[in-house]
Amino acid sequence: MRFGIAVFPGTWSDGDCARAVEVLGHQSVRLWHRDRDLQGSDCVILPGGFAYGDHLRTGAVARFAPLMESVQEFAAAGGLVLGICNGFQILCEAHLLPGALTRNASLEFRCETTWLRVETVETPFTGDCERGGVLAIPVSHGEGRFVADPSTLDRLEAEQRVAFRYVARDGTAVGDASPNGSMRDIAGVVSEGRNVLGMMPHPERAAEPLLGSDDGMRIFRSVVEAVAEHSAFAVAP
């Protein structure tokens, strides 16, 4: 299968995402922000970085890129979109995902391993995981505090759209000890159609044992399996 990896001015995680895809034995193609062509991608990744310098707000300008119009259409048609870190911020600004990502409660840029509890396997991005299992995947961000109003949060929980939560290494709740102070320790959420995932941690940085963890591959592998099993997911033109 083919992963399309978006590149905005200021994106820096595209190479790591391409490497993760390559380790899995699949193909990747870079998607330039000024193009509209998704080049037949089965899944579009919006990788980490500082698109357009993150001026005004993180992701605020990137959402108007020509490429994002195609990504919006692709997502609306049921195509798989994975937003990582800055990609998550862009998806929230584009209203493809609810909530917003604000300055970390600590005001610090945090770059460290986090432990994520898989809250649902009923998504194309977590099908290869176990519910309640813990993944070691690093974060690297200054603005990753997920916020939404209480009714939105309740709805996300009720619809099982919280994909990952920051937890302690043994899987128990961390509360205020999360790396960014996210509401309800939310690290990743999926869209109503479950075909769009945004997550602050970087699975592509936990792609090989040499990196200290290859737990991130569970997410990429889940996508490959989902695409293979459910040809219903849209393929980009």
Binding site: L56, A60, V61, A100, T102, R103, S106
Partner: protein, 95 residues
């Protein structure tokens, strides 16, 4: 007619503002014990051409809705007045 819009973007009251809390702690540290709350926001000046003040204000409000603020976490306020200079000269480069 040219107008100067001063847009103030502030976090909604329900959104936690760690920057404001840090600034408040700093002010307390400096002896400003009377400070009860600090919120940090953004100030954006936008110069716009328009036929009327109401029209220009309407356009700036649209800018706020579409780009300048994030409706999930931020409120905005617009102060608009005729721009003092009809066509401002570019700022001189630093000596």
């Amino acid at each position: 007619m040219r107008y100067l819009a001063e847009v103030v973007i502030s976090l909604k009251p329900v959104v936690n503002d760690p920057q404001g809390l840090t600034v408040r702690a700093g002010l307390h540290q400096l002896g400003f014990a009377e400070v009860s709350e600090v919120r940090v926001g953004k100030h954006i000046s936008v110069e716009v051409d328009g036929d009327s003040e109401a029209g220009a204000r309407q356009r700036v409000a649209e800018m706020c809705e579409k780009l300048l603020r994030n409706p999930v976490i931020e409120d905005y306020r617009i102060e608009l007045r005729p721009s003092r200079e009809a066509s401002p000269a570019p700022a001189a480069p630093p000596a």
